[in-house]
Point group: C2
Chain length 553, copies 2
């Protein structure tokens, strides 16, 4: 429902649905899924295709791959990225292009080279970079080979070959990308580029590698594709300095670029502001830097910042701070965000809470997931859809769900959407929500309350199918005699407070959380329990924004 109760779009959001020409193509609206990792890459082509296609179906005007290295000296094992090293990789990514087009979205590929921060464990090639400076981004600590002109030409040719492959399998948008510390930005950085030849020294020289690559790609793929550049605009100068180098590069490259994808963070040092956790950074926190780019280009600009509020988005587009609302995390939490705004179904938006489990699962688990959207990553493998639910074979049966934390709530909601009309959701506390109730009251974690908000709103719509009973504890015998034909236990877990020893696999006899030297997180956070003789340290940043340190803080 819209803020005023009707289910029609507010006219002030119309601007988000104006088409926009980007180079030779047209975006159907202003919603753009920027490149982001999934753990699918080219390894799981169908998971990749169905995941991106879900967003295309949900109204995003463009969907992109994650970073896709053009050469084998940019290999990320054991982490899975996309790749466009050869025709086999192209065959795998072609499936995603077709899927995006089926739903009317443009498809983009984030061509990439890791440069000196590569750690090519699988291909065993040496990493290459503008200068021989140790790789501090990964544990290897290895120093890259300083690229000679042959190396430069080889990587540029690889980029052009990958671009041709991308065009030929149907990608509409081809990145010559170098956000987040990648090779072209390493050349651009006065900190990482210490060359004394024509590729080092002045900004013009440092920009040469990127500009030549843009030129070659544009020349090679012809006029059929959008040429996009992604740049972390704040990250080229010294730590905390103005972003003059970034802005000057945009000016230098502007003629070669159809679309600017502007972001922030990394390159040299650890000031990773990209994809920052909600604990420290609010919606739109990147604008401080990205909105400065408008002054130097009239080309379309994409910006991100975990945008979920349509008023904010519309205002940014109206003012032309940004032309396109970029999103990674909000598009994972709700693939149907654009459609819901378009149709004025504002209350149905599953808002991203900025917990970053998505990236964590993609990177370290090989398979993306989401706290808000349980279907994320399971579109192909399990055939799950965030908005459409098949009728269950068990609909005639009464169901008892024990525990109304976020899992129990989600379960009851999905059961109701799958046609169950006799679902009892029983909760021992006076309110539903479980641990989200108190977690979201901790300093900085207010956004996490949205996990509960969305589910309460859904519960409200499904009132006739779900009966919520709070303040009632069910023992095993109560469950058995409840009369339900199906029972789901969603009672959560608790901390082991028995002194479990991982070497002997034994507990400490008598140890439990009633003792003053045994503390569970809940006791510390909710009951203010402290070890004997100590007080909680309340220092730096507790409850306030910790500037310039992002999710690593």
């Amino acid at each position: 429902m819209s803020p005023n109760g009707s289910r029609t779009r507010s006219p002030r959001h119309d601007v988000l649905f104006e088409p926009l020409a980007i180079g030779p193509k047209t975006l159907r609206n202003r919603f753009y899924q920027v490149p982001h990792c999934t753990g699918f890459g080219t390894e799981k082509p169908l998971s990749q295709a169905h995941f991106r296609a879900m967003k295309a179906e949900g109204g995003w005007a463009a969907v992109c791959t994650e970073y896709a290295p053009v050469s084998a000296d940019s290999d990320s094992m054991p982490y899975v990225s996309a790749r466009l090293w050869d025709d086999d990789d192209a065959r795998n990514l072609a499936v995603m292009c077709e899927a995006a087009h089926r739903y009317g979205a443009l498809a983009g590929v984030e061509l990439h080279h890791e440069g000196m921060i590569a750690n090519p464990r699988e291909s065993r090639w040496p990493a290459v970079g503008p200068s021989q400076i140790a790789n501090v981004a990964y544990p290897s600590g290895a120093a890259p080979k300083e690229m000679d002109v042959d190396d430069i030409r080889r990587v540029q040719r690889d980029w052009a070959s990958a671009a041709v492959r991308a065009r030929d399998i149907g990608f509409d948008i081809i990145y010559v990308q170098s956000a987040h510390s990648a090779l072209l930005a390493q050349f651009l950085s006065p900190t990482l580029n210490r060359r004394t030849d024509g590729y080092g020294g002045s900004l013009e020289n440092r920009a040469r590698m990127w500009l030549e690559t843009l030129e070659l790609v544009r020349h090679t793929v012809g006029i059929d594709c959008v040429i996009a550049a992604r740049i972390a605009v704040d990250a080229l100068g010294p730590w905390g300095a103005p972003i003059d180098d970034g802005l000057r590069f945009v000016e230098l490259a502007d003629d070669l670029v159809d679309l600017w994808d502007i972001t922030v963070g990394a390159t040299a040092g650890f000031d990773r502001l990209d994809s920052a956790a909600s604990r420290f950074f609010g919606e739109g926190y990147e604008l401080e830097w990205t909105r400065q780019v408008r002054a130097v280009t009239d080309k379309p600009i994409i910006g991100v910042g975990r945008f979920t509020n349509p008023d904010t988005m519309a205002e940014l587009v109206r003012r032309r701070d940004l032309d396109i609302i970029g999103a990674a995390r909000p598009s994972i939490a709700d693939p149907f965000l654009p459609k819901k705004i378009e149709e004025g179904r504002y209350g149905e938006i599953r808002e991203c809470i900025g917990c970053n489990i998505c990236y964590s699962r993609a990177e370290y688990g090989g398979h993306i997931g989401c706290t808000q959207n349980a279907t994320a990553g399971e579109e192909y493998r399990r055939g799950w859809h965030p908005e459409r639910f098949s009728r269950a074979r068990t609909t005639g049966k009464g169901v008892l769900v024990v525990g109304a934390g976020s899992a129990g709530l989600e379960c009851a909601i999905v059961l109701a959407k799958r046609g169950h009309d006799r679902v009892h959701l029983v909760e021992k506390d006076a309110e539903v929500g479980g641990c989200v109730q108190w977690i979201s009251r901790l300093p900085g974690l207010g956004e996490w309350r949205k996990v509960l908000d969305w589910r309460l709103q859904q519960l409200d719509r499904l009132r006739s199918n779900i009966e919520v009973i709070t303040g009632r504890t069910l023992e095993a015998a109560d469950v058995l005699s409840y009369g339900a034909e199906l029972v789901v236990l969603a009672t959560g877990s608790r901390w082991a407070a028995d002194g479990f020893n991982g070497l002997t696999f034994e507990a400490i006899p008598g140890a439990d959380a009633s003792q003053n030297f045994v503390l569970t997180p809940e006791q510390i956070m909710l009951e203010n329990k402290r070890p004997p003789g100590t007080r909680l340290w309340r220092g730096h940043g507790f409850g306030t924004a910790c500037t310039r340190s992002g999710s690593r803080c």
Copy 2:
């Protein structure tokens, strides 16, 4: 050449080439590549097939996959294992079976389930185990679901289905394996199994899960395949206790097993003795435990222990301590180990040095490698063969190799084998060998000298093609004027001693290794340099064997 100079096999090694019946199949000799990780699994079927086939070609009578889980709740992402979850996995592993058979070897598949130490990040299934005890093997710390009888039956059915798939694609040897802490051993362990039903308590009860699985697999696949069991025989009782439980299990299961693959290490606690580094453990160190198994079974026994000495191997087989010489690491370092012994080419054996880079690369780099055998893992991808070398296109040209450390030596040797007859290998030191010269003199690292030994022996055979010049330093101008048409630099690397700061990417002005507070590893180890006012701590285990802690010490 044989120890006495001829190239014929010593008759005392004949016993290693006697065929042996194992269940319904026959091993052509006593050399058996036990299951070991590669990073290929079912993800790189052709790398897997060519890697194992090279050993088959080199004379191993059987080659096995790495561990191959039978169910999706035993997923190892981001580490790559084999899998036999479904027909697609079977299709991938079929390539390896065919390749092994082409060279007359049997093919084995190590069917497996990780149980409570699984951390299924990709499949997102919960881990399962005999009891709900926290997983201390991996950072997750999660507690598995305690298996009910339905779970037990499901895993047993999965095992049988995987076995049928394995048989149908041509595997000769099917493991019902549970070495190194896997599910069946978790049931067997009184530490990890705290059940009170028919699957817990007495040894007979704890063995039930494994015995039933063996029985079902044997019943399901029929009499066409060898049923093998792999057990870490020392690891079931409490830490350091006698191995009575392991031996009693062998007695209980003996009728169901055609082949015992006996190893040591893990299950509960951190006493990982399997695949121990040479720094602390010598050839045959596992025999202390594994040779006790003979007393309880007359079935064929495989044992491992980094065996490379044919005298040791023959003696073990003659005494029937072992019937079959198992090898993982020695078969990586020299896939042709059996053939070389068979043909009396003893001096040509590339002996494993026990550095464990193989496992490290397989597990953390997704692609196995070897310090001794540069071709390991590159049989398919680069078409490399450890014994056969194609003629180079550059054979007419003179080559200068600068630096005769292990890389320069390897390079000169391979150039000569590829037909180059004018290779100059120039070394600044008085001796060839580079850092291996001093590293192999450090306490416990004597085995590493074999890197040099093998290359010196090869150099000796290739004298007419390679000229070795020691004690000569070449500057850039010397290299240019040397007269070589091809130049290879193999001068190694050195430690940065300039105070490089990974945040600012700057060095400390004036810092270098001549100062008393800047120390390189070589200065510490070779020159006894110490920070002002300190002495080197010479405590526990320095230069002596550190018992019962293996490669983690």
